[in-house]
Symmetry: C2
């Protein structure tokens, strides 16, 4: 099992905070999630992700740079998932692109 | 009930991503969480927070600027919570201070 908390490199690096509220419409959501996970780990510049869901879902993915984030956003399989997300799975969502300026662990 | 997804202002603003893995030691954890929530919403520059926990817990708090984040880190009640967190509640954690450069919602 991978580490739950991602071992990111020395800052600066980038984070994409994706927060969402699900609809009750499942429609292969788990399958899409698994496929996106298999796809994202192959992306250049991808550093890892952390995810949890209760009433709200929060997935934070970490990236080397903004160019890697842009490429992933434009990835063909991911584009289909994003469209299904907007139309079927998510009642509401927010994507925030962030520069991680510093961090500390304990 | 407040919005689950925080209505943040136009970027840039700041995010603190706190990811943690809990110990099995409860010791008033829920009480501390409720107290910290009551305290943080009073802080100058605080914009809101989003939180979810399964195997990993992710809490993202949003702030107007770095000075507000520093003041909250140094807040006396929060200092006690942080110490208990390190010693009792968290097996592992990571705090990442981020500048939100852009965002979009759907």
């Amino acid at each position: 099992m991978p580490d739950l908390i991602v071992k990111t490199p020395k800052a600066p690096y980038y984070a994409v905070i994706f927060t969402s509220v699900r609809t009750s419409n499942d429609n292969f959501y788990a399958l899409m999630s698994a496929e996106m996970e298999a796809e994202v780990i192959k992306q250049h510049g991808f550093l890892g992700f952390e995810s949890a869901r209760n009433e709200i879902g929060i997935t934070v993915s970490y990236w080397k740079d903004l160019a890697s984030i842009r490429r992933w956003r434009e990835n063909a399989k991911h584009q289909i998932a994003q469209q299904n997300g907007r139309e079927i799975w998510y009642k509401e969502y927010c994507v925030r692109i962030c520069k991680v300026e510093r961090d500390y662990t304990g």
